[in-house]
């Protein structure tokens, strides 16, 4: 039985990670060249977005577990440090799994 908590495990060397949707429990793989937003869209989820480059804040989403890797310019450094929310369009994960409030 695997008891490893993926939200505490560093991401794979190839830069891919997985997201878990809190409400349904669904798990999606986010490839190295893929954004979280794209992974959601490919799985048929209609996540809100606009600029798609981390500026506008439309895709702001709460992080339930795991540690985000922020690439946006919307959140302040303090907010990014806190790590309880993420921009789906451009930011990634520092942990192998990110649990999102979706």
């Amino acid at each position: 039985m695997n008891t490893t908590d993926l939200t505490q495990t560093p991401i794979a060397a190839d830069g891919s990670f997985e997201i878990q949707l809190q409400k349904s429990g669904q798990i999606l793989q986010v490839g190295k060249e893929q954004s979280i937003l794209k992974a959601l869209q490919d799985a048929g989820h209609d996540a809100p977005f606009s600029c798609a480059e981390g500026i506008c804040g439309t895709c702001l989403t709460s992080v339930v577990a795991g540690k985000p890797d922020h690439w946006d310019s919307y959140l302040t450094p303090e907010e990014q440090e806190k790590g309880d929310c993420i921009m789906l369009c451009c930011s990634r994960s520092q942990t192998a799994r990110l649990v999102l409030d979706l």
């Binding site: 480059e53 981390g54 500026i55 506008c56 804040g57 946006d72 310019s73 919307y74 302040t76």
Partner: protein, 350 residues
């Protein structure tokens, strides 16, 4: 192609201030700019392009030194960075271009090229502005013609006989040969006519300066071109035999025609023209009278140049003649070409 790493006159301070809380949109060397006064009251220039949806910022208004876009209220700062916008976090908004600006001599000067190279020390110096011994009056024309056609026009005054037959033209201009000299980056074209009757404009100026307008005069025209496209022309008449250009002030009516020629596009330009004079500098009514006269005369040039441009645009492959009277324009264009080559070999294009 334009010399871009240099100072051009964008507008007068008066023109900008007359707009109140509205900015001034103006294209200079194909760069669309919006001019406005920043929080410190200094004039600033930014790209006329809202980073939000591309609306011209010049359609907006100035609020506490910020340029508010007239579409969704984005507020642009003097440095091209968005200051604020209703309901938005702006820290990630991409900056737009801002341009170096200098306010001097009543004009707003702008550097349209590489901003890292903008250098106030390269501003031209003029003795007749901000000088109580001189009076200055002028105006602005938007001319639908290549700015170099205006340089050709001003560096060849034989056209006065025909274009300005009723004001400053006279046959002696054609009959008197001119000399063209090049001194470094300056082209000087001059013509001295002796023992002639003054034409109507100069008769008016002689009267204003207490001289008999019917007296025979020596008349001169000394045109000086300096890059990128400034032309100062010493013009005047002195009572015949008193030394011409060098005559004592009481024997002459003399002024400097001031021409700041600012390219807008390949086939249009902004033309700030004026006249600086030393006689009766305190006579504001005379300044107005001269401005009206000069404005009428230069309007005749504008009509000619616009129709000339239309012809050239219609037949762009037609080769034009360069005659002896055109040497001032030819030499001026050589200097422009040399500066352009220099600018483009040092990897500076904007």
């Amino acid at each position: 192609m334009f010399i871009k790493n240099t100072w051009y006159v964008a507008c007068t301070l008066t023109e900008l201030e007359a707009l109140g809380d509205k900015p001034l949109g103006r294209t200079i060397c194909n760069e669309k700019m919006a001019f406005f006064k920043g929080p410190d009251g200094q004039v600033a220039a930014v790209e006329d392009f809202c980073p939000h949806r591309g609306a011209p910022l010049s359609l907006g208004k100035v609020c506490k030194g910020h340029l508010q876009c007239g579409y969704h209220g984005l507020e642009m700062g003097v440095d091209g960075k968005t200051v604020q916008m209703p309901g938005q976090r702006v820290r990630g908004f991409p900056a737009i271009k801002s341009y170096a600006v200098v306010e001097r001599y009543g004009f707003v000067w702008v550097w349209p090229g590489d901003q890292a190279k903008a250098d106030v020390a390269q501003m031209p110096v003029f003795e007749f502005f901000d000088n109580p011994a001189w009076a200055y009056g002028g105006g602005l024309y938007h001319v639908q013609a290549d700015y170099r056609l205006m340089i050709d026009n001003l560096m060849d005054l034989t056209h006065e006989t025909y274009v300005h037959a009723n004001s400053i033209g006279q046959p002696e201009i054609d009959e008197t040969p001119c000399t063209t000299t090049v001194e470094g980056d300056q082209v000087i074209l001059q013509r001295h006519m002796e023992g002639i009757q003054a034409p109507p404009f100069w008769q008016m100026a002689m009267s204003a300066n207490g001289l008999d307008p019917q007296a025979k005069v020596d008349r001169w025209q000394i045109c000086r071109f300096t890059p990128p496209s400034h032309i100062m022309i010493d013009v005047g008449v002195a009572l015949a035999g008193k030394g011409g250009f060098d005559a004592a002030p009481e024997h002459k009516a003399y002024s400097v025609v001031v021409d700041f020629i600012t390219p807008e596009t390949e086939s249009s330009h902004w033309y700030h023209w004026g006249m600086a004079r030393q006689f009766k500098p305190d006579d504001a009514a005379l300044t107005d009278k001269i401005r009206a006269g000069q404005g009428g005369i230069f309007n005749e040039d504008m009509e000619m140049l616009q129709l000339q441009q239309a012809n050239i645009s219609k037949w762009p492959d037609r080769k034009l003649l360069m005659l002896n009277i055109d040497s001032g324009g030819v030499q001026s264009r050589r200097i422009i070409d040399r500066w352009l080559a220099l600018e483009n070999t040092t990897g500076v294009t904007a």
